[in-house]
């Protein structure tokens, strides 16, 4: 038994695979995504891996314990507004809360700024005359006759999903339950989502929006998972399938199907998890992870070795109040298409060639030059060694078409046009990194850049130069970074209950009952997911405020303090946290505290691979041994082509120093070491590339980033 664990990350262009065996072996694989049904590429890849390992599919499948899967199915459905036709049923008088978004216009001075198109259009937002009052009393019951009328409409409109969200249901969910169950009976084939099942906490807009997102993508996710499970069944897969969630944890398909909204950031969420792993491995506290895929570029921060989560998130301005990792995504990737704007300026993306028709060089009917085409023209990519030679790139056609489309308008030859494309997309990505660092008040120069995605390390040097980040690191799993990160995810479930009470008036029984309730739910879910009760870790937190304040501060507390009802230590911790965050505390005044929500994160710890680097067989003994060839590549510092050495990265495991400019080729990753950089190989399974002007003393492991700056700059 090999006890394989397999991480599978479906991206816009490629589906990435990372396989780890319990003997320490590992394998990286990539296959083209199949956007019309991404489960096809998923299965194709598994078959291809079996071939690579020279194994019968059946015996390979037998050896797989766990598959962890990140999917962009939900994200894409939201971004492209391609979710299910969804209706909303809410309390009479509140038909428009979803669309009003509390009346915000994010850009105060921009009169052309448009409101978000609501996931449920007004004519599919229905109301019924029911009411729970502010104390949680039912003052007007649900009349099923009203629901019957709506059901007729829903049938006529051929709605596929329904969100149900009544006012004050966080205090008493009876009405919502009645309506939800009634509708489920009447319309058994529809995806029906009650807000009490998704986000049973106070604040109507947050709840209605999150519930609508859940309903909108629920059908899409359910359909996708069904197809996937079917296909896995067909190849006799008996192991566990886990789905990556937006909070950085994993979940079983059964749970994901009910609360589809937890998968909204399923794809990119694994990057910061892997980022935290590598930061620790290399002895850094803080890092920025950048992941350049085929369609999008994601950036996120790891601060003090922790990924940043919040409940303040939104996707394309659709509010989602579930705990989510803080990731900035912009439309820049290998497939990003170059075009000329109204002011005759060259622009890149966000439109992507995807995998079909793909960039020109893929020879699949693509006629618009994409970033990958530019990378090819500039000599960074070898047309005969793309994905290790799996795909042969057509360089002649790329040069001709790039010149013909963009070059003529710009009055430039193909090389200069490609260089322009390269520089523009680098600026775009640098802006994405700025958004996640500078705009959150962090100076990127104090961070280590962790670079992922097959094309990322061709561009990382220039992004870092733009932001004066002194060093970037390319792990050997860079090309499938998220797939690797998925194997590091634990099962994580977040629970919340609104319990609005002053500390002096906490009903201890009730308080503990809420936690017991959430714990029960967690145990039920996690045991269903195969985690034994004693292996569950609990991270409780409380949303607290001073009496009279309106907004609450999330405060992580110890389970011990909850169980022992140790309010004194919780109060003390709150004063401190309030001061740290907001510059003052009201401890001496004796101001009372008030709880709004109680939360529980339950973590089912999963078994992790010992190392992501895998066993290395026999690396090169000297640098010369790894030298493949020399070829011309574009040097941004001098804006010209220059012949550079090309090394075989797949045998560079030992510690060598490479002076830029140079290229390192691995099967799925190419690293461009620009004229400003040097590189050290074989450091914790990583290539460490540092700016020789900003770090004249070179690289030392285990120094803090702060020190790194002061030592070198």
């Amino acid at each position: 038994m090999k006890g394989y664990k397999l991480g599978i990350d479906v991206g816009g262009t490629f589906t990435d695979f990372f396989l780890v065996g319990n003997d320490g072996s590992s394998l990286i694989h990539k296959t083209l995504s199949t956007p019309q049904d991404s489960s096809i590429g998923f299965i194709t890849g598994i078959k291809e891996i079996a071939q690579k390992l020279n194994l019968e599919l059946s015996s390979f499948i037998n050896d797989i314990d766990t598959i962890v899967h990140g999917t962009t199915v939900a994200t894409n459905a939201l971004l492209t507004m391609n979710g299910a036709k969804t209706a909303l049923i809410t309390t009479k008088g509140f038909r428009d809360a979803l669309e009003m978004r509390r009346g915000i216009r994010e850009e105060r001075y921009n009169n052309h700024y448009k409101n978000v198109k609501p996931l449920v259009p007004r004519h599919l937002r229905f109301t019924i005359d029911e009411r729970i009052d502010a104390l949680g009393n039912s003052i007007l019951p649900v009349k099923t006759s009203e629901l019957d009328k709506i059901i007729e409409q829903l049938k006529k409109e051929e709605v596929k999903a329904i969100a149900i969200c009544f006012i004050n249901s966080y205090l008493n969910n009876e009405h919502e339950k009645i309506a939800t169950e009634y509708l489920r009976k009447a319309l058994p084939n529809l995806f029906i989502s009650g807000s009490y099942e998704v986000l049973p906490s106070v604040r109507f807009y947050e709840r209605v929006s999150t519930t609508c997102i859940n309903a909108y993508i629920g059908v899409v996710i359910a359909k996708y998972l069904e197809a996937l499970l079917c296909k896995l069944y067909d190849i006799n897969f008996n192991g566990k399938l886990m789905i990556m969630q937006s909070n950085g944890g994993v979940v079983t398909p059964d749970v994901a199907r009910k609360i589809a909204a937890v998968t909204v950031l399923s794809g990119p969420a694994a990057a910061p998890i892997a980022g935290a792993y590598y930061a620790e491995l290399l002895g850094f506290d803080n890092c920025i992870t950048m992941d350049m895929g085929g369609t999008s570029f994601d950036a996120s921060l790891v601060v003090n070795r922790k990924c940043v989560t919040s409940t303040d998130g939104s996707i394309d301005r659709h509010r989602i109040a579930l705990p989510t990792l803080d990731i900035v995504t912009i439309g820049a990737g290998g497939g990003s298409i170059g075009w000329i704007d109204k002011g005759d300026l060259l622009q890149m993306g966000p439109k992507s060639a995807g995998s079909l028709p793909g960039p020109i060089s893929y020879n699949r009917d693509g006629i618009e030059p994409a970033c990958t085409d530019a990378d090819l023209i500039l000599g960074y990519l070898d047309p005969n060694f793309f994905a290790g030679g799996k795909y042969i790139l057509n360089k002649e056609k790329t040069i001709v078409l790039t010149k013909k489309t963009l070059g003529i308008t710009l009055g430039l030859d193909a090389m200069k046009t490609a260089a322009g494309m390269y520089r523009v997309i680098n600026m775009n990505m640098a802006q994405g990194v700025r958004q996640v660092s500078v705009e959150r008040g962090y100076d990127p120069r104090e961070f280590l850049m962790l670079c992922a995605g097959g094309a990322g390390s061709i561009h990382a040097g220039e992004i870092c130069r733009e932001l004066e980040i002194p060093m970037f690191v390319v792990p050997d799993v860079a090309s499938i970074f998220c797939a690797a990160g998925m194997l590091l995810g634990d099962l994580k479930h977040d629970y919340v209950r609104s319990y609005m009470t002053r500390f002096s008036k906490i009903d201890k029984k009730k308080f503990l009952a809420f936690f017991a309730q959430m714990k029960d739910e967690a145990i039920r879910t996690l045991t269903e997911e195969g985690i034994s009760k004693e292996k569950i870790e609990y991270n409780p937190s409380l949303d607290i405020r001073y009496v009279g304040q309106f907004h609450e501060v999330p405060l992580e507390v110890l389970m011990k303090d909850i169980n022992e009802f140790n309010t004194a230590s919780i109060i003390e911790a709150f004063h401190k946290e309030h001061n740290r965050k907001y510059g003052y505390e009201l401890k001496n005044e004796g101001t009372e505290l008030e709880i709004i929500n109680v939360r529980l994160r339950a973590v089912g710890v999963t078994e992790k691979p010992q190392s992501l680097s895998g066993n290395k067989i026999k690396g090169a003994e000297s640098l010369e041994q790894a030298l493949k060839c020399r070829r011309p590549a574009y040097i941004p510092e001098t804006d010209s082509m220059q012949e550079v050495p090309v090394y075989d990265g797949d045998i560079l495991f030992n510690n060598f120093k490479i002076e830029g400019p140079a290229l390192i080729e691995q099967i799925n990753t190419t690293i461009f070491i620009g004229g400003s950089y040097n590189c050290e190989t074989g450091i914790g399974g990583c290539f460490v590339v540092y700016n020789k002007f900003l770090m004249p003393n070179g690289f030392e492991k285990n120094i803090s980033t702060q020190k790194l700056i002061s030592n070198n700059v």
Binding site: K92, R105, Y109, R122, H123, V438, E466, G548, H551, Y584
Partner: protein, 580 residues
């Protein structure tokens, strides 16, 4: 000062760091304050200033506060001279020393770096009470400032880090709600955050480096603003609008007259010809009027321009004392902030011919009410401005419909509805309805933003309601063939069935439990001939019950086949091609 080389990366680091500091201060205030006016509606501004009082950056959640801290900062610097020490905290609201509105109370904290004053952090917020004759501050009967509020000229609350308890007691002995003390503490907290962050930033790069890059930033912002102005044709432009009822004299009317002179890269806003000041509280202050001018002009230029001193340099303001926009001592002025919609109208109307692509049709004017009373469940006092009810639509402009339920231009979408569920916890009232109002968008090729309809069942006996605002007499204007929207209105239905319609500036006491409050906030004005509106947009609006079939036929010339949303093309074409 030694020659500092300007580093372009550092320039954007400074710019974004200033921005993120004032943003962080703003988040801090949102999260810590208690009055819903602050924590929910975000009626506050946070800013950073240099040692001379020049704006480094500000986060004005409400644009009407866009100009309101800088002038006060300069007053403080003049008043104290060298008597400024680390740990000082200064409070200010006085409208006769550059305050903008009595209720808007500012806190300033000096920031020192190696014992050198390098800047100021500041936060100004609309307080739930500020003393005076009426709780909440809006007193339609006021003729002098003392009937409105406690005047606080710049005074130190802390000196060298020590609380001046006597001063604190004096101020808060004159303010009704304890909540206000707590909100002032939150403002001091936000300023402390700003102080910590700016101090860290400047310590890291050095004072000289900071100073040099600051000037470079001001310069580049000023250049951007000047190039925007130079795109407006040179000339003198005139526009005017009306203010109805001063709260004292029924039927009174006043005029706001803008004369705008564009000269190459500079622009002058001259309001000298506006009506003289009133005897009521419908008077502007210099600062609030300049804010209104600034925010309106910002609506017409590139929205990406940084908000620092360079932004306002090319703008000249002429708002003489004694006019309705700049009342002289000791006139009442609490309503002054709410002259913003009329100021904006006069500027849009004036610049319409010069910048037809940038101006909007009329926005919905503010008409709102403020409830006070005792919450029977907690036995505590509450003050609440009914934000959700007051937010109407914005005017359409070339190429786009107006924004639905955005609220008056003073806030431009920065003023948020209360969360319904939190509202029902914090007040004894129950919301019956809060929805878009059908047919409320001013018709046009581009439709005005939608208004809303709000019904609230009031709870707790003896509630008091102050009504203030406008927009209940004259419809807002459409542009280039578009039309205005319906009027604002507020009325009460008492439990005994009696109906009462308050005036636009009014005070109503002893409202009994169970009274139903009904409010309509109108939409924005339309832009362009409605008969040219895209038929599919009309169809969509009708299907969504935003536009009735009757309005579609009458105004848009779109006819539907019976009982369906299918357009009757023949009838529609007939109507649409008919000579007007």
């Amino acid at each position: 000062m030694s020659e500092i080389k300007i580093d372009n990366i550092l320039l954007s680091i400074f710019q974004r760091a200033f921005r993120s500091i004032t943003d962080e201060m703003s988040i801090s205030l949102t999260k810590t304050t208690r009055s819903p006016i602050l924590c929910e509606a975000k009626d506050f501004v946070t800013g950073l200033y240099d040692a001379e009082g020049n704006m480094l950056e500000q986060t004005e959640n409400l644009p009407i506060l866009s100009f309101s801290l800088g002038p006060v900062c300069k007053v403080i610097i003049n008043q104290y001279g060298k008597n400024i020490f680390p740990g000082d905290v200064i409070i200010h609201n006085d409208v006769f020393s550059m305050g903008n509105q009595n209720n808007d109370v500012a806190i300033f904290k000096p920031i020192f770096c190696n014992d050198v004053l390098v800047g100021w952090s500041a936060a100004k917020g609309h307080q739930a009470d500020i003393g005076g004759a009426v709780q909440g501050g809006y007193n339609p009967n006021a003729t002098e400032v003392w009937q409105e509020a406690l005047r606080i000229p710049a005074v130190k609350l802390y000196e060298k880090g020590v609380l001046r308890q006597d001063v604190w007691n004096l101020i808060f002995a004159n303010i009704r709600l304890i909540m206000v003390q707590e909100d002032i503490k939150a403002q001091i907290g936000a300023c402390t955050l700003g102080e910590r962050r700016l101090n860290t930033l400047i310590s890291k790069y050095g004072i000289e480096c900071f100073e040099a890059h600051k000037l470079e930033l001001f310069g580049s912002t000023e250049k951007m603003m000047r190039s925007e102005i130079s795109s407006v044709p040179n000339g003198t432009y005139y526009g005017s609008s009306k203010v109805y009822y001063d709260g004292k004299h029924l039927g009174s009317e006043f005029e706001i007259k803008a004369k705008i002179i564009v000269e190459d890269e500079s622009i002058t806003f001259d309001f000298s010809e506006s009506s003289p000041q009133t005897n009521g509280f419908v008077n502007g202050t210099y600062t609030s009027s300049c804010s209104a001018i600034t925010l309106t002009f910002l609506q017409m230029v590139n929205p990406d321009i940084s908000h620092n001193e360079g932004m306002i340099k090319p703008l000249t303001y002429i708002v003489p004392e004694g006019t309705i926009l700049n009342a002289s001592y000791p006139k009442a002025t609490t309503f002054g902030n709410h002259l913003c919609p009329q100021i904006a109208d006069s500027i849009f109307k004036a610049l319409g011919p010069a910048m037809p692509n940038r101006v909007t049709a009329g926005w919905n004017h503010l008409l709102c009410s403020l409830f006070t009373g005792k919450h029977p469940r907690t036995n505590e006092k509450y003050v609440d401005i009914c934000f959700m009810g007051l937010k109407g639509g914005s005017g359409a402009l070339q190429g786009d419909d107006g924004y639905d339920h955005i609220g008056m231009i003073d806030a431009s979408g920065g003023l948020l509805d209360q969360d319904y569920e939190m509202y029902e916890q914090q007040t004894p009232h129950q919301i019956l309805k809060h929805e878009f109002l059908t047919d409320s968008g001013g018709v046009g090729k581009w439709r005005g933003g939608l208004g809303v309809e709000t019904f609230i069942k009031m709870g707790g006996d003896n509630a008091t309601m102050v009504v203030f605002g406008d927009g209940d007499v004259e419809s807002n204007y459409g542009l280039f063939g578009g039309k205005g929207s319906i009027l604002n209105s507020i009325n009460l239905k008492y439990p005994d069935g009696k109906l009462h319609t308050p005036l636009s500036k009014d005070l109503i006491e002893s409202i009994p439990d169970g009274t139903v409050y009904k409010q309509i906030a109108g939409g924005g004005g339309g832009y362009g001939n409605p008969k040219e509106r895209d038929v599919n947009s009309v169809q969509q609006d009708v299907q969504n019950e935003i536009v009735t079939k009757a309005q579609a036929a009458k105004e848009y010339g779109v006819i539907f086949k019976n009982e369906s949303f299918e357009i009757d093309i023949i009838e529609t074409n007939k109507l649409r091609t008919k000579k007007q």
